[in-house]
């Protein structure tokens, strides 16, 4: 558990954070690969649906161009690619959340299941809203775009941090023993 969640944590950090010096030095494909490793380990270990790892594998391929994003011309195509990247991140995160929910439920840690559910609701809702706004940008005025992207990127930042925090907290969770009434 601990090791696999750590991979997911580092992987998500790679996906989320960019250090663009000519190329992205925290490349997204590497991030998705680490998420893939962590998620597939968890789903085999606890026999949960492998959807999270499958979408992470798709993310490895889809995010390949993002490494060289500073070389892409800023235009319609790049704008659409940013939408695609966020979409992939959301789908992967959605299935990671449900993976964590199932595992915490198996651990009998109902408090953590509840917290994971709550965070995932905020996370998914904010990301859906941000994506919807991003699809509108070609038809918005430049000042509308400026303040909308300002607020959404702030909200997304908070969501990313809260997801990383959750991963970190959940990392060392142990199965709670079911109380034996026969004693």
């Amino acid at each position: 558990m601990s090791q696999a969640v750590k991979w997911i944590f580092i992987g998500y950090f790679f996906v989320w954070f960019r250090i663009d010096i000519a190329i992205d030095w925290l490349p997204d494909p590497v991030g998705y690969f680490l998420i893939y490793l962590g998620a597939s380990k968890l789903s085999t270990e606890y026999s949960v649906s492998p959807k999270a790892s499958r979408f992470a594998a798709a993310g490895v391929i889809l995010s390949l161009p993002s490494v060289f994003i500073s070389y892409l011309p800023s235009g319609v195509l790049t704008g659409n690619y940013y939408i695609l990247l966020l979409l992939v991140k959301l789908v992967v995160a959605f299935y990671l959340f449900s993976l964590l929910k199932v595992i915490t439920a198996k651990f009998n840690q109902s408090e953590w299941t509840r917290r994971t559910e709550l965070r995932s609701r905020y996370y998914v809702f904010i990301h859906l809203a941000a994506l919807f706004i991003m699809t509108l940008t070609p038809n918005l005025l430049s000042n509308e775009v400026a303040w909308l992207t300002g607020t959404t990127s702030l909200a997304l930042l908070v969501m990313d941090l809260s997801f990383l925090l959750l991963l970190n907290q959940i990392r060392n969770l142990k199965p709670m023993p079911t109380t034996d009434i026969t004693v």
């Binding site: 609701r121 070609p138 038809n139």
Partner: protein, 287 residues
Amino acid sequence: MKERVFWIFLGIIGISWIANYLYADAKRLKEPVFLDHFVEMTMNDENYLTFYYLTNKDDLAQVNYVHINKVMGYVERDMGFSPGVPTDIQSFRHYVLRKITVLVNEAALEYHAGDGDFKFNEMEVFFSDYRDVKADIGEVILQQPSSSESDDPLHPVSWGGSTEGDSFTGFNVYEPLQVEAIALAIPQLNDRLTFKLSGGNPARQTKDGKGLPLKELQFPIRLQRGQQFNVTTYFGDFSDYLESSYTVSGRTDSGETFQSTGTLSSQPYLKQEDVQEIIKRKRRDGQ
């Protein structure tokens, strides 16, 4: 959130994505659209002409040079905050308004136009992405310098203007005279400008504090030595660029004719509706 609900939301986003992309794509201009310019100026060694155009908001191309009836016009590079990126004067939902300053040398004009006035309505614009656009730009006249006007009995001494499209010229009167006519250098503007006159007799010609159409002005206007004659012009259409003049002509009491010049200018300031209207009109013109 249930998996199915999640995918339904993603589906909605997908539809919005495609719809917005297609709508924006349908609104794209195939080529930049130039505004109408009404410019009349006296030829100098170096003539700077200003042109405004509308283009797609993600257009990164700059104008390299222009051809005006075979005469080459050099485009002054904008050395603003970020050289190499065109500066937007105004931005709209799908388009931006940009401005270029074109330098035309007198030598080149003389070679092609001879000694006459140089007049054009079209120019060919060459962009940095290898597009060239035949642009309909209104009416531009470069005039040969006229003979000296040094001893005008009616002499322009003050000028002004505002961003509201009004321009002001004040004339000093050096001997008793009467103004008999005002004529615009560009006749197309006759119905589009109004004039407010003050000084002399009749003392004021105005309507509701604004101007009167040219043909409703009353002449002659008697002026005494030492009086000031003020002309304010109003141009209500902010879709066009204006840099022109009008002549004030008449006769002094000693019987000599005179002619003096007042200037007018107005810069475009577009609203979203104006943008739609200009694009619609210019597209129809082109067909």
